[in-house]
Symmetry: none
Subunit: 217 residues, 4 copies
């Protein structure tokens, strides 16, 4: 890992091309890898373990995927190219296609959706977090790209509009986004720490806090 951007970017592009003709076994492998990588970490997971959980032979893992690193990429690719942008997209377009009258309904539209997204994609998010910690520049850049893109085209304009309407605090847009994310990511942190979480309460309080914090009083 952490061996520079090129390996990852190369593999990433190649993987993207091939990403549709997946056999059942190959899907099982990706599934098993996702589960194991995210629960134990990438380096703590062996090819044998993946094969076993996927119910295939070790060789089958390498039949399709050049190496373990490539398998990681293959696991992350759909996430980074499909799920995440889509999620960001939803966050951008769906959430922002309406012209919210006030910050409250704006926050209301985002928070519950994002918390559920975390629940649904917990494993994948944990895996990304792992890669960020181990300094995988490829993953990091991919993440940044996915965000910058969507955010700048969809979210930023909407925030600006709310600010101009005098409804939202006059902080730089990237900080507005940052605070939205960190408040929401607190939920992810709680899950990482095995803390008991109650979705209803989380939604209620995070919403309240964000509304209060982003609203111009």
């Amino acid at each position: 890992m952490a061996n520079g951007e090129n390996d990852f970017q190369e593999l990433y592009k190649e993987t993207l091309k091939k990403m549709d003709d997946l056999t059942d076994k190959q899907k099982q492998i990706l599934q098993a890898a996702l589960e194991l990588f995210s629960s134990q970490g990438f380096s703590e997971t062996s090819s044998a373990q993946i094969a076993e959980r996927a119910g295939v032979a070790v060789g089958s893992v390498y039949q399709r995927f050049q190496n373990k690193q490539a398998l990681l990429v293959a696991v992350l690719t759909p996430l980074l190219t499909q799920a995440l942008p889509q999620a960001v997209d939803e966050f951008g377009t769906t959430a922002f296609q309406h012209s919210f009258d006030d910050v409250e309904s704006f926050v209301d539209a985002i928070v519950p959706d994002r918390l559920r997204f975390i629940d649904k994609n917990y494993a994948a998010l944990k895996l990304m977090a792992d890669q960020i910690i181990v300094d995988d520049q490829g993953v990091i850049n991919q993440l940044k790209a996915a965000f910058t893109n969507q955010m700048s085209t969809n979210v930023v304009p909407n925030i600006k509009r709310l600010q101009k309407a005098g409804k939202m605090v006059d902080l730089p847009e990237d900080y507005i986004i940052q605070f939205l994310f960190t408040a929401i990511l607190g939920y992810f942190g709680k899950r990482l720490l095995n803390m008991p979480v109650n979705m209803t309460d989380e939604i209620k309080h995070i919403t309240a806090f964000l509304t209060n914090g982003l609203m111009k009083h």
Copy 2:
């Protein structure tokens, strides 16, 4: 809060000094392990690397520490039992010994201090984050314990007082703490993502956001 007082590295070295059953070489080993573990991750660091950086023979690592895992524990234990609680303690007492008149001065007292704490202890924090991701229950529990303890004895009462004075929003104390932390941890996240950060701006905007969000308008 005085500069450097709650620097993990400082605290860690002090802790090491107090461990007078440790030889110089053993301290070098712990130091090298801390550095390598936090910069590359635990599994990405080999015994040979540690020995080399510590300037000792590989065997010397195992003379004192039963195995690599035990070395990790030896590195983390003083952090989790000494440095972290002490840092949390300072956070609790120092920051909260004054009776803040309003949320603004309360937030002002915390944010700059915590951001600098993150800067100074980036390596150690990253190591802890690594362990949380890899699901090290030991680390997780230690972290929880350190926090619950200090927070409940020092921070919670202060929050309550501010709330009773009608200055702070009426959210549960643990959520107040959660929002303080997540807003601050955003800075840690930015560093993990290699994003350019400007301390002055961070302080300014995080303070502004938290003040607005926690203040009762």
Copy 3:
């Protein structure tokens, strides 16, 4: 008893053949391990040595066998569960299926056969002896089981018959067996001590002594 029928090496190879889940290389590993373990002892034999003699890579040893101890078990198990009981069995049935008229022909039937058995199976017996000394309870119990079983079903009745006929001394059967074995094992001891042995003489004298000692005068 026909020559070679109860040769451990033969029986061992047959057993190996029946283990059709073993590849050729794995059989070579077991064969090499048997040879090295019994000539040098278990702890004095390294994985590298085994691999070299077997003509495989070191890793191949551990591909099939979890660890060195497991390899020892794999070597001993067929000996203790297949070869040994079968050998004991032949000893029991073949030697005792006739109704010997007197102790002399009884002893005559056993001694030469057992001495040749020791010669043929010297390596395997030495390995077992090694394990007994190092207090391997597994091996010890297996050995006991193999013996108790066969002796009680086949040998004991024959001894009793000879005793009732007034031809054999009235000692407990287990002691009769013990004396037969120890007198014969003297030959094994001589070989361990690198003493010059002459099979013809050994047979002659051991037979004479046992006949005299077990006969009722």
Copy 4:
């Protein structure tokens, strides 16, 4: 081990010279080594273990004893030079200084004494057995020497006398000795195999068998 006679013989002679000025700690080391070597085997015992059981530092083991091999020699030396010859001697002189009237009293004089000797020196005998199995030529030669010496000067003449008197079977003297030993060593074997033993019974039956077997009827 098993590295030729010279190492052993050299060490053996050097050890002999120094064998009197032992400090308390050194005696403890020898005792601990004897216990551990005989219960687990030589190679399965580490210097650290010996030091720990002896209650001394690891270095102290090597202060006096050149290396582990030398320690083994030092453990075996008193046995091979003192206990064993003395035992053989007793077996030779004590037991044979009387002119036994018959084989029965001759056997009676030997068996109980030897069985008790085995009990008393079980650990040391086991250690010797270990060395014999691992093919330690030094030990083997020492053993042989101790025996040949004593046997030929004391025992052989006595056996010859009994044979000439027509009381003992006319087998070669070395075989007579062999049968005496093996019958008695059966007891040692039973202990190795953790079999329940009753000294009274053993004495009774071994005596009976040997008497019958060696007596000229």
